[in-house]
């Protein structure tokens, strides 16, 4: 029996009712994300990229069409999906460790010793060993976002949704975070939907890149990233990757201009 795709969008429309009239956020969006695939979604601002994520997480129902996760239509919020936001949005009063265990505490009202151990493991994995007792504002922006990633992984979700997670970071930190992310997923594969503005980030991290066009948002093109084997800073010099980046950039440019 063939396994259903992890995520499946089938002719999804999304219309928001605003005071000025209906806003067509998404139109006829169809795509699949297979198991343990890293999909980057690239597109101009306001093309409904974040709306996609909210629909996968079950926070938003499509106006028409179908969103499926593991072959089942998404009808309500699901907790087997981790979300990393653009801003870390940590709780300023809670220690780093309490921030990482927040999902389980918030869901069940109780944090076990095992949960705390797991938080420690995750902090070590994202490179924040020994920072568990600090408060978020004692950490740099990049470190805070690492805590955000650890928090999203704490319930061990199969699917990780990342909404421009590194866009608030400086260029160097951003690159390092990207490779750290790949290292984390190499240990523990996840299905990832990664939204970004950055062509190079998308090409470097993803298995496949989905280009969206704006208003109403729809899938403009899909590209498989021609890289095999582990990726590192050298991958950026790969000829196939450079071609893909140029192609993606050109597509985005013409759309922005149009």
């Amino acid at each position: 029996m063939q396994q259903p795709p992890a995520i499946r969008f089938d002719a999804v429309d999304q219309v928001f009712q605003a005071r000025s009239g209906p806003i067509h956020a998404l139109q006829g969006v169809s795509f699949d994300v297979s198991h343990h695939e890293f999909l980057a979604v690239l597109g101009p601002s306001g093309c409904g990229k974040s709306t996609l994520l909210r629909m996968i997480a079950g926070l938003l129902q499509p106006t028409s069409g179908e969103v499926e996760v593991f072959g089942m239509p998404v009808t309500s919020p699901r907790d087997d999906i981790g979300i990393v936001f653009q801003k870390p949005t940590l709780l300023p009063w809670a220690t780093v460790e309490d921030n990482v265990t927040f999902p389980v505490r918030h869901k069940t009202g109780h944090v076990s010793i095992r949960d705390r151990e797991r938080a420690q493991e995750l902090l070590a994995m994202v490179g924040l060993e020994g920072f568990g007792k600090r408060l978020p504002d004692e950490l740099s922006g990049g470190m805070q976002q690492r805590v955000g990633i650890a928090r999203a992984l704490h319930l061990d979700p199969d699917i990780l949704l990342m909404d421009e997670p590194f866009s608030a970071l400086d260029a160097l930190t951003r690159e390092m975070m990207g490779f750290d992310l790949l290292r984390i997923f190499a240990d523990k594969p996840k299905t990832v939907v990664f939204i970004t503005h950055s062509v190079s980030e998308a090409a470097l991290l993803a298995d496949r890149v989905l280009v969206m066009s704006g208003r109403p948002g729809c899938v403009a093109s899909q590209h498989v990233v021609p890289l095999t084997g582990p990726r590192g800073p050298d991958s950026m010099k790969d000829a196939g990757l450079l071609d893909l980046s140029a192609d993606l950039r050109a597509r985005l440019m013409t759309r922005e201009a149009a």
Partner: protein
């Protein structure tokens, strides 16, 4: 406000950096710098020195002016006369009056807090209640409390109750509005996270919204605690037989102006101390809710 918090800037200074490990070599340059830095450090080294000096200067000028121009005491009593009336009244009478005012102010403030925060939570949860209650609150707030006070006293009779109610009325509006603002100011991402976890709404309130509202609640508490003293005094003006407000009114009716001024000083001190107590409570219980420099 800074003159009321003389020790705050000091408290925020981080511990002194560790002593330099580089061995000191004899400095061939002439020591010209220290002479420039000594003068300002005298004022900045002792906390509150500037404030104290300012107050002392004002008091001296005041005393001098009253004596020089022979200002009659009903117009402006000299600081020395005010000070003298402190002793004349005696600690036992002061204690009675201060306790009466303090009791009403704190009870009214406490009641307002206990009503306002749950009310704001309910209004946050229910748009319907918010729509129906908010206009009512605005009407209550727009009615001058001084004007309602006599009515409340007639309705509720003698004793602390009418005074506490008046104090509550005057204090709770900023608390409701500010708490509601704080509850709504939570980052939408965290609310989405909460929803994606299918957490009970109660926990969304206690684990996310309420803590996020703490800075808002405390800025309202600071306003409310000073309003509470005003409320207690207003209530005493209307009907009472004790309290610092009553004492001032009583003193003026007997033309004991220095004594009335002494009451005023006591009221101001009470307000300051209560305000400071709220500030310290926030510092003690919720240090994270303060800007980094004032922790």
């Amino acid at each position: 406000m800074s003159q009321t918090l003389p020790d705050q800037p000091r408290a925020s200074v981080p511990p002194a950096p560790p002593a330099r490990t580089v061995p000191k070599r004899p400095d061939p340059r002439p020591a010209a710098k220290p002479a420039q830095t000594v003068a300002p450090s005298l004022w900045s080294r002792i906390p509150g020195l500037t404030t104290a000096a300012t107050f002392l200067t004002v008091l001296l000028l005041w005393e001098g002016a009253v004596r020089l121009f022979a200002i009659p005491s009903f117009l402006l009593p000299a600081p020395s006369a005010i000070l003298g009336s402190f002793g004349a009244v005696g600690p036992a009478r002061w204690a009675t009056h201060v306790w009466a005012t303090l009791r009403v102010a704190v009870m009214g403030f406490g009641l307002a807090t206990c009503v306002a925060i749950p009310l704001a939570m309910v209004m946050m949860r229910s748009p319907f209640l918010s729509k129906t209650l908010y206009p009512l609150l605005v009407v209550v707030q727009s009615t001058p409390v001084v004007a309602i006070a006599p009515i409340i006293v007639v309705a509720l009779g003698a004793g602390d109750l009418p005074r506490v109610v008046i104090t509550t009325l005057i204090t709770f509006f900023p608390l409701v509005v500010s708490t509601a603002t704080g509850l709504a100011a939570t980052p939408p991402e965290l609310i989405e996270l909460s929803r994606s976890l299918s957490a009970p709404a109660r926990r969304e309130m206690t684990q996310i919204r309420l803590p996020y509202a703490v800075p808002y609640i405390f800025s309202a508490l600071r306003i409310s605690i000073t309003l509470a003293v005003i409320g207690a005094v207003v209530a005493e003006f209307v009907a009472s037989d004790a309290g610092v407000g009553y004492f001032i009114q009583f003193s003026t009716s007997m033309f004991r102006m220095p004594q009335a001024w002494a009451g005023l000083v006591v009221l101001a001190a009470m307000s300051l101390i209560l305000f400071q107590a709220v500030v310290l409570t926030q510092k003690w219980l919720f240090p994270w809710s303060l800007p980094k420099t004032t922790r």
